[in-house]
């Protein structure tokens, strides 16, 4: 049996200050992150001691220097919110991670809470800028000038699953899944073949099949081996190849179907070799085939369209789940995946309520027709960018959503709740509740630890190496019984 699922996403947003000729991304990010005021989370640092970003899943340690800021800088760049989410500065981008969750509906709820957090912080930060300047945030992945920033998905998987199996069986899936979760982009960059419009924002940036890098020579399969959990039992697969989505259906399938395929790989249920010839070249070609009709050679000799590759994975998933209990969310993801693939095979434009690259393409084509302009027109580039603007009044996705022209997966109430409270069913509950209840007594946090300072005692670090412990069911009574952090630490360590 595969592990019960634990997953989450980390999203880097684009940032700029309109009206500032001397715009500096790093100081703007620090301003943004600190402008967001949520009670007393201001003084909690991020505990870098617990990180190992240079461990490689293929079994070696890469040489290099791990980034560790001083304490003041650390606190200025890292906030951990009461819903269990880290909100922070990553190099020159603001970033929001969802807490650890157990299902894709919660991923969407917390991602959307992240968009709302970015917007609230953006408004607050803009008030601190000189008159005439506006801080802007975009949930996109490229500036169309050769610079890309990521959306990373994380999946907890069993350490015993051979990494080779993941590389072999996940690569063809990741290369082709963009047809339902690409966010669409006008033009190409990074020396890719010129085009008017393509499916994925990120495809132009993938240059190798397997590697540890995320910033240069990006790989389709990233090998970072940093489980943030019990290293003997777990691996955290870090999927860096995806676009940030606006459409909830795109996120639903991107994360939900990837979790399903990983379960199949872990359980040895992939019964055929789906490997594509030259996946690095294929990922770019598929991104530029807006008809989704081109076929590509498989190592085993057959030719398949991207839709057909996905349909073979679907077939294996349906066979796998036909003899197993399936939870309602997984069942719904399977149904939606099947339906979306059938319509992509017929005519991708039918997905104009569900899939970002189609929604955006419809919008741009409608605009070009009405204004009699072509793909090179600056206003078309503006549409491409403004689709991702997080402002509810200016963001074009938000405009379309308000008009009721896209399908939703979660309710506004679920997003409201995700803004305020952590998920009940992972260690994020313990993290978020400790921040809410004992903000003054927390010295630092990380995914798998939380450190308390109580009186003159040395700081006590509580390690949380099992992501499915520390749930509401598990610790709510304990937290209710402890009025202070000192009592909690005492109770935990007694």
């Amino acid at each position: 049996m595969p592990l019960p699922s634990v997953m989450g996403t980390e999203i880097e947003y684009g940032i700029t200050v309109q009206g500032d000729p001397d715009f500096d991304p790093i100081s703007s990010c620090v301003l943004l992150v600190n402008a967001y005021q949520e009670v007393d989370v201001a003084k909690i640092l991020w505990d870098y001691d617990q990180e190992s970003p240079l461990a490689d899943a293929r079994g070696f340690q890469v040489e290099g220097e791990k980034y560790t800021p001083n304490q003041q800088e650390n606190i200025a760049r890292n906030k951990t919110l009461m819903n269990g989410s880290p909100f922070y500065v990553d190099h020159a981008h603001p970033e929001y991670s969802t807490p650890e969750v157990t299902n894709v509906r919660d991923v969407i709820a917390y991602e959307r809470a992240g968009e709302r957090t970015m917007e609230a912080a953006r408004r607050a930060a803009t008030l601190l800028l000189p008159p005439g300047q506006t801080l802007l945030i975009h949930k996109n992945n490229s500036d169309r000038k050769g610079n890309s920033y990521g959306n990373h998905e994380n999946f907890l998987i069993a350490r015993r699953t051979p990494f080779k199996d993941i590389v072999t069986h996940l690569t063809p899936f990741l290369v082709t899944r963009q047809i339902f979760c690409g966010s669409g982009k006008v033009g190409s960059e990074n020396r890719a073949t010129p085009c008017d419009y393509q499916i994925s924002q990120r495809a132009d940036f993938f240059e190798t099949e397997v590697a540890l890098d995320t910033m240069v020579k990006r790989p389709i399969i990233n090998t970072r081996d940093e489980p943030h959990a019990d290293r003997e039992k777990y691996r955290r697969l870090h999927v860096i190849v995806g676009d940030s989505n606006q459409c909830e259906v795109s996120t639903y399938l991107r994360v939900g179907v990837t979790a399903i395929v990983l379960a199949l790989i872990e359980d040895g249920a992939i019964d055929r070799d789906m490997s594509l010839v030259d996946p690095v070249r294929r990922i770019r070609e598929i991104s530029q085939d807006l008809t989704c009709k081109r076929t590509y050679a498989l190592d085993r000799g057959a030719r398949r369209t991207a839709v057909q590759v996905q349909q073979e994975y679907l077939e294996m998933a349906l066979a796998y789940f036909s003899s197993r209990a399936v939870d309602p969310v997984t069942k719904d993801v399977l149904t939606r995946w099947e339906s979306v693939l059938a319509r992509l095979a017929e005519d991708p434009m039918q997905l104009d309520r569900e899939v970002d690259w189609v929604v955006k393409q419809r919008l741009i084509r409608g605009f070009m027709e009405r204004k009699r302009v072509d793909w090179q027109h600056p206003q078309v580039s503006m549409l491409d960018l403004q689709y991702h603007d997080v402002r509810p009044d200016k963001g074009l996705y938000h405009l379309i959503e308000r008009r009721g022209e896209v399908d939703r997966i979660v309710t506004p109430e679920e997003v409201e709740r995700a803004l305020k409270v952590p998920p009940d069913d992972t260690r994020a509950y313990f993290r978020g509740e400790c921040i809410r209840r004992y903000p003054e007594s927390i010295f630092g946090v990380n995914w798998d630890s939380i450190s308390f300072e109580a009186g003159d005692e040395p700081v006590k670090r509580i390690l949380m190496n099992e992501p499915l412990k520390g749930t509401r069911r598990h610790v709510e009574q304990l937290l209710d019984d402890c009025e202070t952090a000192a009592e909690l630490v005492e109770a935990l360590t007694a």
């Binding site: 461990a55 039992k233 149904t335 403004q386 022209e405 509580i462």
Partner: protein, 84 residues
């Protein structure tokens, strides 16, 4: 600045936890393991097309109201650093 206690405390929920996760042996470790179709009937295609065009016109009007002015300048100045 205070150093974090070098020996993480034993705790009731997660149990004994090792500082150096790469080296310590771990005990235990039993692995725990819509299909709404588009469009109406054939006979309604013309009416549906008209309706879609109207919707699009209306959407473009709304976009005109919010689209950033000086698109050329805006797009040119939108430069990000590579991330991740």
């Amino acid at each position: 600045m205070r150093a974090i206690n070098a020996d993480p405390a034993m705790n009731r929920i997660w149990g004994a936890a090792a500082e150096d996760k790469t080296q310590k042996q771990r005990q235990g470790g039993g692995d725990s393991g819509d299909s709404d179709s588009e469009g109406g009937g054939q006979s309604k295609i013309a009416a549906k097309g008209e309706e879609l065009k109207e919707d699009m016109d209306n959407l473009i009007d709304q976009i005109d109201d919010v689209l950033e002015e000086n698109a050329e300048e805006f797009v040119k100045n939108y430069v990000q650093r590579g991330g991740e």
